[in-house]
């Protein structure tokens, strides 16, 4: 997929002007938030359940190296094959080589953000192997060559006419129709055909269990289960932070994940796979390959701040809570991960050089932090990134401060470090501001604050500051 994290502003403007986007943003995030809220109510103690989920992520990260070793050992004992991929190229190459060696001309895929991070579909296409997305929304987004709009509803914003047209064009549909059920059935028929005689299927992983070597997926359409059971060879791709210590931990994480993502107590399909088909079993893949992706995560892990981003379980609840996402939708974030989730993950994975807007496009309202089942302090992390950006931190590829902005902050801090300076500074500031208007409200400040004045006025500095009023008061 094309990475456009450096076009946040432009894409956001386009989306603000896009009536369809705006319409769906009035519906989807609010509805999902409400459903989440309701679903959390089904816990006997929602707050405790929330905290337990966060604690599980905390423990998983604290013990990550050890848990990964245990996971590998147990998965191997189950008969799975493990490939440690240092980066996207390594993962893509492994998967493409595997597909070739199995003589697969195409593969099917379950919806997964990690394969979007890899750009796997593009790589496979370059190798002459088609990859079919089998989640309905993802399938539509793929045919249209669009990134996912929302993690839960990747194509929710696409008009039905457009879906009809693309289905006709790609041979999914024979007769034009706008009936959603018929369209859905057409997609299903098309994809069922792909599952027949399937050589290789690819899925992501929601949770990996160290103590049992199990990989878990949760979904609502059954397509992931098809992907996991129909092919001869199954590849499950996971980022290395997905592992939790025990099956009990995994089950609790599923409880909070499903509630946070879709407001369900449990997704319709939860698949737990421990190794490939055993000798006495009739179903399942003959080979199970688990690709464990690093792609910069080990480096992130070394720092106690950025490590926090690895807590994320990709539920998407923060998207629904975010006021900015609620206005611009998923496209501006420009990569596999959108909303606050993307704002904490993408800068850590891709560096600040191309994600500078992502870390600033936040009002620090803290709603994401409040609802995050993984316990991420998004605003805290964004503030950390902003600091590293200003400092031109080499590890995160910070760009350094704009010299004028730095100077302004330096002067301001200098003025604020001494009472006498501050009085002079504030006098000068007030006088200067009052040059731009006589009334109580300013409509502009010349070249300054153009963004502010786009839609707002600003009170002119008071004739007498509080400081002066206090000095002159008579009580």
């Amino acid at each position: 997929m094309k990475v456009t994290t450096d076009r946040f502003r432009q894409t956001a403007l386009e989306e603000l002007a896009n009536a369809r986007t705006q319409k769906f943003l009035q519906i989807l995030p609010l509805r999902l938030s409400a459903r989440r809220q309701e679903a959390y109510g089904s816990f006997s103690d929602p707050e405790a359940a929330h905290r337990l989920g966060q604690a599980i992520r905390g423990e998983a990260l604290a013990r990550l190296p050890e848990l990964l070793e245990t996971f590998e050992r147990n998965a191997l004992a189950n008969g799975a094959k493990i490939f440690w991929a240092a980066d996207s190229q390594a993962a893509n190459r492994y998967i493409a080589d595997l597909a070739r060696s199995k003589g697969a001309r195409y593969v099917t895929k379950g919806k997964s953000m990690i394969t979007e991070e890899l750009g796997l579909n593009d790589h496979l296409a370059q190798c002459g192997i088609s990859a079919w997305e089998t989640d309905l929304g993802e399938f539509i987004a793929q045919l249209l060559e669009k990134p996912p709009f929302h993690i839960v509803g990747p194509a929710i914003n696409i008009p039905v006419e457009q879906i009809r047209d693309i289905f006709l064009e790609k041979g999914v549909l024979d007769q034009p129709t706008l009936d959603p059920v018929t369209l859905g059935r057409a997609a299903r028929r098309f994809l069922r055909d792909k599952f027949r005689d399937l050589q290789m299927g690819i899925t992501g992983v929601n949770i990996a269990v160290a103590e049992t070597g199990t990989v878990i997926n949760v979904e609502n359409e059954g397509n992931i289960r098809f992907n996991k059971s129909a092919p001869k060879t199954l590849v499950c791709v996971m980022s290395l932070e997905k592992v939790v210590p025990t099956l009990a931990d995994a089950l609790h994480q599923l409880r909070v994940l499903c509630r946070s993502a879709t407001g369900q107590a449990a997704g319709a399909y939860i698949s737990l796979d421990s190794g490939p088909k055993k000798a006495d079993e009739t179903d399942g893949p003959e080979e199970l390959h688990i690709v464990i992706l690093d792609n910069g995560r080990s480096a992130i892990y070394q720092n106690r701040h950025t490590r926090e981003a690895l807590r994320c379980i990709r539920c998407g609840a923060c998207l629904n809570a975010c006021p900015v996402y609620g206005k611009v939708g998923g496209y501006p974030y420009g990569w596999a991960y959108s909303g606050p989730m993307g704002q904490v993950l993408t800068p850590a994975l891709r560096g600040l050089a191309e994600t500078g807007d992502l870390i600033r496009a936040c009002t620090l309202c803290h709603r994401c932090k409040t609802i995050c089942p993984a316990g991420i302090d998004h605003p805290g992390l964004l503030l950390h990134y902003r600091n590293k950006d200003v400092q031109a931190d080499p590890l995160l590829q910070g760009r350094g401060a704009d010299p004028r902005e730095r100077l302004a902050h330096r002067l301001f801090a200098l003025a604020g470090s001494r009472y006498t300076y501050w009085r002079i500074f504030s006098k000068v500031l007030s006088r200067a501001a009052r040059l731009f208007g006589k009334g109580a409200m300013l409509r502009g400040l010349g070249p300054l604050g153009r963004g502010w004045f786009l839609s707002r006025d600003l009170p002119a500095p008071a004739k007498k500051s509080f400081h002066e009023r206090w000095r002159q008061r008579k009580d």
């Binding site: 006021p323 803290h366 401060a401 301001f412 001494r418 501050w422 007030s430 963004g451």
Partner: protein
């Protein structure tokens, strides 16, 4: 009388000094003597949020020196209080001595409504004011400090005041400090949404605990809906105190 030290944010000092006076009046009204250290400047919130931590530390050190001998500190700004209480300790993560001083200071700093209700123990100020009001939950006040019941209780106890339900009360108004200027279109969409809910609510006034949100919402109202007013809680309450009827609009 116990003393309460006024922490007047720089915006209030320079642009909205009336809020500072209202704060002093309320502090006095609940039996405390307001003290004002003229040496105070800025808490460093803007520098911190913009990533300039060295500069924020300079301001934070000054703040700590000015206020650390006070038993009780009160401020009419949820975001500035949040900065001092919750961000200073982290800002001094590598300077144990300053961090200790920040941690010792933190529990003594109160947002105004917090001070009135939790510290002074007063909900009914004996205020009168005839208005239908909606309460905007400023993000730092709500999510940073966990303050929400206090201002609503104070408003609810004002004779003649009706507090109406407010859809989207806890959705950000799009201020976000420099965000409003850096992402003006997104910020505008958010403040327009907030104002839309306000107009729908039927309230005459929109009341809040943060001068930042106030600049944003009032600035937008002034441009697009003149005649509609947003107001700081301090001004609303102080305006209804006995002997002070409707002192400020």
């Amino acid at each position: 009388m116990p003393r309460a030290s006024l922490f007047i944010p720089c915006i209030v000092d320079l642009v909205l000094p009336g809020i500072g006076e209202s704060t002093a009046a309320l502090v006095r009204h609940v039996g405390h003597t307001p003290v004002y250290h003229r040496e105070q400047t800025c808490c460093g919130l803007m520098a911190f949020n913009s990533g300039f931590r060295d500069e924020a530390r300079t301001l934070a050190r000054h703040f700590i020196q000015v206020f650390e001998d006070d038993a009780t500190i009160v401020s009419p700004s949820g975001s500035c209080v949040n900065m001092v209480k919750n961000r200073y300790p982290e800002l001094f993560a590598d300077e144990p001595d300053w961090q200790r001083r920040a941690l010792e200071l933190a529990p003594r700093v109160f947002e105004l409504s917090q001070f009135l209700v939790d510290h002074a123990g007063v909900i009914d100020l004996g205020a009168h004011r005839h208005a239908t009001v909606a309460y905007h939950e400023s993000c730092s006040t709500l999510n940073g400090l966990g303050v929400s019941a206090q201002p609503k209780a104070l408003l609810g106890a004002v004779r003649g005041t009706t507090l109406v339900p407010f859809k989207g009360a806890d959705v950000c108004c799009g201020f976000g400090g420099t965000f409003a200027n850096a992402f003006p279109e997104i910020s505008t969409a958010l403040v327009a949404q907030k104002v839309g809910y306000f107009l729908e609510s039927g309230a005459e006034l929109l009341v809040m605990c943060d001068p930042g949100c106030l600049l944003n919402i009032q600035g937008y109202l002034h441009r697009h809906h003149p005649g509609k007013t947003a107001m700081h809680l301090a001004d609303y309450l102080a305006g209804g105190l006995p002997g002070n009827p409707g002192r400020r609009p």
